[in-house]
Symmetry: C2
Subunit: 311 residues, 2 copies
């Protein structure tokens, strides 16, 4: 893992599954995560310790973490909203803790039912206690590039939140394009602004492909020196505000781009595609990953090449 | 049109429809192109004058060109493989001629049934005669970034073809990522190499989104000064080598990226989306455009489900 030049954060089992209406059996989740852990991924976010009432799809969080094979090459993370969630996460021996809030007040309120300031009051003891337990902490900031309720989001708001998260002691902050509206110029503007609070090696980009711009944005961030990127295998998760549209960038697509840029991700794309096919079969519907859809089309044609295409 | 800072080349009616198995009625094609001509697009490629035996979907080429409303704001182009095709195109008063060949010998042979050198023998009189008729000529070079038969393609082969096309007198050369394998580093390498033969203002990129990298590649080319891009409304056309996978980048997605970069495309994205929805309904299956799928998902949430679309 020491030769990796970029850090891929696989969020499929958590961010990808959290909005799924179809229940995936705990043992299936565990089997799937065990597969993912063999692809060369160095971080996998397993689940979320929010109250099961809010995310029924992940109500088996403890069982999933307990079921997954220990793997010294992979850091297993989980989302934690408060101290009760932290208790549950620590109890089952999670490796890393992720906390979350939004850059826009309205989205934060709709999502967490608290103002941003109130959220920090809840998160600070979580972060302190996690640190005492020697657990690295990742911070998610949503709606950095646009909010489904407020539209444009002031970059100074993001900057202030980033400052507070760094002060509290998080190791990495993931900046989310929650509704997939960003284009490369905005990526550059935001990274430039927040780099006053967060060094590049502590920054991650969480791109969404809702308008097809995810990899253009990754390329822009990579050019500026960002070296951590969130992806969801198979593009699982879609757009939370428009079910059926693309959302989370597919980890396969992300890896193809980054390796093409000369980065070393450590991930075996073929193995990852098998995991993507596996979860697509379980869910029983097409998932948005470009590589997955290409593989499905190629499998379907079984190597047959059409000679009748003009240009 | 004088304020446009990038040139969008809409190839949907030709490149998008050419592999469609479902026959689209001539009057439907005409109505659809008339819609497209009202979106602010400055170039639309209407059809192909290859022998109808090879592309039955476009066997009504002359009728389509004759049926489309004249529009002083739009240049109407058509693909022409040889002098017979040129005769047919000139007869119905096309504005611009497009010729095509491949950067890889094998793809050229499979596609045109000739070697690259033999293809030039056919194209030269086409270009000469088109010029005598005061028709601007666009050249397409396929498989520049990879070939479905040969794999890697030597950039010197592309450079040589670009040189010959410029010598013959074409006004713009579109470099195609026919199988959608390119990543930004390769875009940069190729543009740098071919810029020795073709000035940036005469270059166009024809990106495919088969692996999700289309807009990252457009961004890379734009940063280097390329200012013409091919798109297919709705992402129509897909990948000729893997039906069902993404191919041609959707013009909507392309425009969103470019406008986000500060470019002026002159195209009304909302109107273009209506044209995308229209052709999707006609074809009766989901097309790969990110903006289109987002719009469908949003319509669905607002209760405007289109009964004729699978979604």
């Amino acid at each position: 893992m020491t030769n990796l030049s970029v850090r891929i954060r696989e969020v499929g089992p958590r961010d990808g599954l959290q909005n799924e209406k179809k229940w995936i059996e705990t043992q299936d989740k565990v089997d799937w995560i065990d597969q993912l852990a063999e692809t060369g991924l160095s971080y996998i976010e397993l689940t979320s310790f929010v109250h099961p009432k809010w995310i029924p799809a992940l109500s088996d969080a403890s069982e999933v973490v307990k079921g997954v094979k220990k793997n010294k090459n992979v850091i297993f993370g989980a989302l934690v909203p408060n101290e009760r969630g932290l208790d549950r996460a620590l109890e089952v021996g999670i490796d890393e803790i992720a906390v979350f809030l939004s850059a826009s007040e309205t989205h934060n309120r709709k999502n967490i039912n608290k103002s941003i300031d109130e959220t920090f009051l809840v998160l600070k003891p979580v972060i302190e206690r996690a640190k005492k337990s020697n657990k690295p902490i990742r911070g998610y900031v949503s709606t950095v590039f646009g909010c489904p309720y407020e539209g444009d989001v002031d970059v100074n708001q993001t900057r202030k939140i980033a400052y507070q998260l760094m002060e509290a002691g998080v190791e990495e902050i993931s900046f989310g394009d929650t509704i997939g509206v960003a284009t490369p110029n905005q990526i550059e503007d935001v990274i430039q602004a927040i780099s006053k609070e967060v060094s590049l090696e502590k920054m991650a980009l969480h791109p969404h492909d809702t308008r097809g711009t995810a990899l253009a944005n990754v390329f822009a961030a990579y050019q500026l020196g960002v070296r951590a990127f969130d992806g969801s295998v198979a593009g699982l998760g879609g757009c939370p505000y428009a079910p059926g549209a693309s959302g989370n960038v597919a980890t396969e697509d992300l890896i193809y781009l980054l390796e093409g840029l000369g980065a070393k991700t450590g991930v075996d794309l073929e193995k990852l595609l098998e995991s993507a096919k596996w979860i697509q079969r379980k869910l029983g519907r097409n998932l948005p990953s470009h590589h997955l859809q290409l593989a499905m089309a190629q499998d379907h044609r079984e190597g047959f090449v059409d000679e009748n295409t003009a240009y």
